[in-house]
Symmetry: D2
Subunit: 192 residues, 4 copies
Amino acid sequence: MATNLEAFCMNSSPIKIVGIGGSLRPQSYSQQLLSLTGDRLQALGATVQILDLRQLNLPFCNGDKEYSDYPDVEKLRQTVQQADGLVLSTPEYHGGASGVLKNALDLMSFDQLSGKVTGLISVLGGSANSNALNELRVVMRWVHAWVIPEQVAVGQAWRAFTPDGKLLDKDLSERLDRFATSLIDNTRKLRA
Amino acid sequence: MATNLEAFCMNSSPIKIVGIGGSLRPQSYSQQLLSLTGDRLQALGATVQILDLRQLNLPFCNGDKEYSDYPDVEKLRQTVQQADGLVLSTPEYHGGASGVLKNALDLMSFDQLSGKVTGLISVLGGSANSNALNELRVVMRWVHAWVIPEQVAVGQAWRAFTPDGKLLDKDLSERLDRFATSLIDNTRKLRA
Amino acid sequence: MATNLEAFCMNSSPIKIVGIGGSLRPQSYSQQLLSLTGDRLQALGATVQILDLRQLNLPFCNGDKEYSDYPDVEKLRQTVQQADGLVLSTPEYHGGASGVLKNALDLMSFDQLSGKVTGLISVLGGSANSNALNELRVVMRWVHAWVIPEQVAVGQAWRAFTPDGKLLDKDLSERLDRFATSLIDNTRKLRA
Amino acid sequence: MATNLEAFCMNSSPIKIVGIGGSLRPQSYSQQLLSLTGDRLQALGATVQILDLRQLNLPFCNGDKEYSDYPDVEKLRQTVQQADGLVLSTPEYHGGASGVLKNALDLMSFDQLSGKVTGLISVLGGSANSNALNELRVVMRWVHAWVIPEQVAVGQAWRAFTPDGKLLDKDLSERLDRFATSLIDNTRKLRA
């Protein structure tokens, strides 16, 4: 039973989730949705930290390991490394994840990303689509992360939110709840 | 503690894995590799059943729910439904999974596939590639299955095996071991 | 100038387009849309032949070159081989092209498919998506076909058509026109 | 005949190809391969301009149209806009195109990219793969560019080149020739 008791205790400690938003736009909808997601994850008992790439000073990845002129690279890496799970929220630009988000992932590697249980969100102006989600699913698999089956793609984002940043569509809001619940439950199971 | 004891007991029961091979070729390498994988899964304590599509009489999916003239549809569905985890092994035809395998998946739905922990294998004659693996990852996500990060793509399959059906390449063999171990461990965790 | 005159004459002969529908469902929407597309291609001067897989007796591909028990394999191959361009219309099953359509492609190879200028259509019951289109784009690339940038994905197909088989949505209808026009124009250019 | 004569004349003017490399690494193999490709395109009569992102000062895309602090954005856009065809050469980072390259594409839009005939190259340290190529194919389709069926993926790039930057493998070198020839021939046809 010892092993199992140990697992029980490990499983009782709070789940740490780090969210990364892939947009630098001031009123970004994908950041707004990430923020909402963070609230729900916290309501479910998780510890949540949002990395707002608008507030980090990151370089373009040049293949180097070290970026001593950019201490935020280390901040990004350490924050992600100590997480149990991740949420990646990206605007869909040209049928893919934003270069901004992909560049942040390029600055990390297996040390930070492998084994992380990840939920994916994409937001776009036109009809909802899963191009960016499929791309990120392949990328996160490549670094040996887990990607949960639940995912959220929001189309016509400009009319998805109330003025105070809530989701207008009830179905979408419930979808986000199932997404958050799955991320917490399965992160707990997989990190055991 | 009751819930946890219950989980402990559930987790102790053997993992049931069903393997489906996507090739109808008599000397199929993907079937051979699936068979090898089955052996390793059994050695790790799993109950394994291989569905050889060469021995099932399945129709082309026409969108119907019922195929009363083809009792093997029901056999396929029931076998998969009671599994904890799946292995899908496909030849890569034209940069995708075989139509044969996709058709077998088309004959099933959420009832059979949702929540299943799945490992993916592809085999091809040319250089190893992940086209078919990426496609199946998207498809299995769509039916809300889990796909483990470990995957196996074997290129130049015609020179991968010994005459008695073992893998020649030691690295590949170890990769298959890690694949089998991950499938068992994570099926156990996720079904809890 | 001779070469160019020759090209001019070649370019004046009618474009031959073959359409393949990926559904066996009796009232299939993807077949209906393929039929509509065929009408528009003909109105633009193309010779169009629709291969209705419901009326062909095709086997599951087993990797063989010859299927002497199934003369329709040869019919499929010859019809496609002499085409200048193709339209593939598939229902989206489980986030992918139908196994039925992929199997028909598996029964052919470079001889039939290489260099063909191809337009892609997908039809689904839920929200429009590009999963099946992306998959087919990769597959057709693999056999060295061209895929035109214009593509058509119809969501909620059960409410897309009038009782007599016309498209209800004007935007979608215009999109189909642009699709047909691009296929004809670019097939003419690329076969020159 | 007038139209055709006009087409003949248009087709006689040199093809303008712009190459964009997705790596900022000083000794980048993808830049090296792009440079080689440029040489071959020139030998076939094209006008070639390589945009070395290491020498452009580009911002991260924040969704804005204007980047007045970064004149190189305008330089990038104008150079690409006046091209007939493109070559995108990317290192494969984490199973995808580099964020650096995707960000450069994010800074452009239909005005620059639509209708461009594009050839794709990826370079990686491990086994050759088509993850990044498939991703870029979907992205370039989204902006209504053409992507030629020929593509080049170089694995184990660290042993692919001679000290003076030539390709060691004869098959790969011939593949690059076919790639360059197809890009020129089909750009000529499609821009007509």
